[in-house]
């Protein structure tokens, strides 16, 4: 980097371009934060900084089960879906990375197909299936589709990690007396742990951010997740738009993401680019 010489002009040019991009991305977020601190009366006030700051919106959403319960649903459904998806994906990815079996390329193709399939096209059939199976408006009703869509992502990410683990380690474990399952659990899995954490984060983010399935397959707060619940916030009267509480709820569900990304930035990038450079 040091070898590249940049003129002050270039620096200024790149700097302003960066600022513009960041501003474009960040202003709506800051606007949301600003809104969440405004009083209901000031919601339509065009000034960026609230004239009078209030915690009222937060008090309102955090004191009602209309938001707390969905928040718990979001966390619970997200965690369960993530754990199951990563456990299944790691086994599938191990097979994809290590074994030669008939139909392997079909399997990989199918996984990719699921990942790129437009989810909206599946909402109606899934809705009918879930209704007839009694899964509608239950945790499993969301967990199962989340696992289904988390698996391709997990298989792709994890198989890239597994490929980087030397095969000889597994041979060594086998010669040391391990069954294939023991070799996987005691040698391969611990080495793939960083990959599993990465995959877990990616899958969890996908579940956490999902709105489409959450709004389609739930009808009450017993299983509705936070993004969907915000849709059902009501104002103080029928004619008031609950802008403040929605903004506050949006801030609340964004905070975990920000923390996640700050802590696991490197892992997430590693997961998204895994296999891109090495191997």
């Amino acid at each position: 980097m040091a070898a590249v010489t940049t003129t002050p002009r270039q620096k200024a040019g790149w700097g302003s371009a960066n600022v513009a991009v960041i501003a474009l991305a960040l202003i709506p977020v800051l606007w949301m934060v600003s809104l969440s601190f405004k009083t209901p009366a000031a919601v339509l006030d065009p000034s960026f900084i609230p004239a009078s700051w209030t915690w009222g919106n937060y008090d309102q959403i955090l004191s009602t089960s209309q938001f707390i319960r969905p928040l718990i649903n979001s966390i619970g459904i997200g965690l369960i879906a993530t754990l199951v998806a990563v456990a299944l994906a790691s086994m599938a990815a191990y097979a994809v990375a290590r074994l030669r079996f008939p139909g392997k390329s079909v399997l990989i193709g199918m996984a990719l197909l699921i990942a790129i399939f437009p989810q909206i096209a599946l909402v109606t059939p899934l809705f009918n299936i879930e209704r007839s199976l009694g899964l509608f408006n239950t945790w499993p009703g969301l967990i199962i589709p989340y696992i289904a869509f988390g698996l391709p992502l997990g298989i792709y990410t994890l198989s890239a990690f597994f490929r980087e683990i030397p095969w000889e380690l597994e041979k060594a474990a086998k010669v040391d007396g391990a069954t294939p399952f023991q070799a996987f659990i005691r040698v391969i899995a611990p080495l793939a742990a960083p990959g599993m954490v990465t995959t877990a984060i990616l899958v969890f983010l996908a579940c956490w951010n999902d709105f489409l399935f959450a709004i389609s397959f739930t009808s009450t707060i017993s299983s509705r997740t936070a993004p969907a619940a915000m849709e059902y916030f009501s104002g103080s009267s029928q004619f008031t738009v609950p802008t403040g509480p929605i903004a506050a709820a949006a801030v609340v569900i964004t905070i975990p993401i920000i923390i996640f990304v700050l802590f696991f930035q490197r892992r997430i990038v590693a997961g998204l680019t895994s296999g891109a450079v090495k191997g």
């Binding site: 041979k171 060594a172 474990a173 086998k174 010669v175 040391d176 023991q182 005691r186 611990p190």
Partner: protein, 441 residues
């Protein structure tokens, strides 16, 4: 402790390629057997089949009298050291070495005892709680060995265990491996592509080429009595020199000079129906500075002149290299494969470099037109078509199967270069080279 029997073992990969073809070897209990050969010769595949990491296509593998073809690696009671060591990076040295015992549900105090004992033998005691990433190459190699020995297995399998070490450490570790094997007395099968390792370590060495065992014998036997061109060229460093030769009425004409074959040798070669063209093999140490050869010994070989291209002194020995015309005949598949393995590109020229090891007392220098003597007694004669060593047919040793041609000349006669004699002898004349002195014909 167990013997390992490979009975007509064959490995054919799903794509149809034949990796190991009809491998037969009886490895005695406590024996140290080396599988050696150029890369791709099937030696590692063979080892993996013994370990159970590769399926056996046909044939029978017995360890300790039991057929283990269909047993998984864990039920074969063997330990393996891998080329990459394959240490578990997330475990400490202690955990690495104890892993097999732990899987076998050995009590923890027994594990500790055995690991510490192995660590003591391998001088790893102070590293027991470190992770492999924090160890040097040599230490990692020893941990890999330690992981094998704590188990006290029926046999050790080693897959090029020293090839990742630098040259100096490799020699050191080689000695350690040898000492360890003697001490433990466990059957060991060791794969390497390095013929020096093979010769120094093994009780018995199996030389492989293209999935077929060429010869399995003691290192000395391989060196002195190679069964074919491939073994002859593979074993020995620098490698054996090969020259084309033509048989005429019991005289073997080569670009170095003419040799007279003994009657017995002549009969054997004629009986083999080889025809006139043969390949002659001479090891570098068969050459000597003519000035240093006692007159009594001269009669056993021939003297010739050569221009020394390269002179290398190792202190104890001197290596000189000179070029001889290749002539026709010295191109066999086996020699080509050897050349490829050694990284020598096909020069395409007409000259073949010949290496000669001389006594350090020699006064020959680079660029000099020197007089050299070559001992004909250990000479090997190969059939270019089959690669078979024709000079081995008599069982009483190669050394006496050949008689040097100038046996009727006066040993005291000065070996004057006689270009006219060379011309008249009808051998392929090589510029700048002495004719066969004293050739009687």
């Amino acid at each position: 402790m167990a013997e390992i029997v490979l009975d007509h073992i064959t490995k054919r990969f799903p794509d149809g390629s034949l990796a190991v073809n009809d491998f037969n070897l009886d490895i005695a209990d406590g024996e140290f057997v080396i599988l050696v050969g150029p890369s791709g010769c099937g030696k590692s595949t063979t080892l993996n089949m013994i370990a159970g990491l590769e399926d056996i296509t046909s044939g029978e593998l017995r360890i300790g009298g039991q057929v283990v073809n269909n047993k998984s690696p864990k039920d074969r009671d063997i330990a393996m050291v891998f080329q990459s060591y394959a240490l578990y990076p997330h475990m400490t040295v202690r955990q690495n070495m104890g892993f097999a015992l732990k899987l076998a549900k050995t009590p923890q105090n027994v594990i500790n005892e055995k690991v510490e004992e192995a660590a003591r033998i391998l001088d790893l005691t102070q590293h027991l709680d470190r992770k492999p990433a924090n160890l040097s190459g040599g230490q990692r190699q020893r941990v890999a060995m330690g992981r094998a020995i704590v188990r006290d297995p029926a046999a050790f399998l080693m897959d090029e265990p020293l090839s990742n070490l630098d040259a100096k450490l490799r020699v050191q570790t080689r000695t350690e491996v040898s000492r360890l094997q003697r001490r433990l007395g466990t059957t060991m099968v060791y794969v390497t592509h390095d013929q020096t390792e093979a010769l120094t370590l093994g009780d018995r060495v199996a030389v492989m080429r293209s999935g077929v065992v060429q010869q399995a014998a003691s290192p000395k036997e391989l060196y002195d009595r190679p069964l074919n061109l491939f073994v002859a060229g593979f074993i020995g460093s620098p490698a054996m020199n090969f020259l084309s030769g033509t048989l005429e009425e019991g005289i073997l004409r080569t670009s170095l000079g003419d040799f007279r074959l003994s009657n017995q040798m002549r009969r054997e070669v004629e009986r083999s129906g080889t025809g006139r063209d043969v390949i002659v093999g001479l090891r570098p140490e068969n050459f000597e500075d003519a000035a240093l050869v006692s007159p009594d010994n001269r009669q056993y070989g021939i003297t010739f002149r050569a221009k020394i291209d390269v002179y290398e002194s190792l202190g104890s020995d001197v290596f000189v290299y000179f070029t001889r015309e290749l002539g026709r005949g010295v191109n066999s598949a086996e020699l080509e494969e050897l050349a490829q393995d050694a990284g020598r590109a096909d020069s395409g020229g007409t000259g073949e470099t010949i290496a000669a090891r001389l006594d350090a007392a020699t006064r020959i220098g680079e660029g000099q037109d020197a007089e050299l003597w070559v001992d004909a007694r250990p000479m090997h004669i190969f059939d270019p078509a089959s690669g078979r060593n024709l000079s081995l047919v008599s069982d009483d040793g190669a050394a006496i199967s050949i008689q040097a041609a100038p046996d009727r000349t006066d040993a005291g006669e000065p070996q004057a270069p006689a270009p006219d004699a060379a011309g008249s002898s009808g051998a392929e004349a090589v510029p700048g080279q002495a004719g066969p002195p004293g050739e009687a014909t």
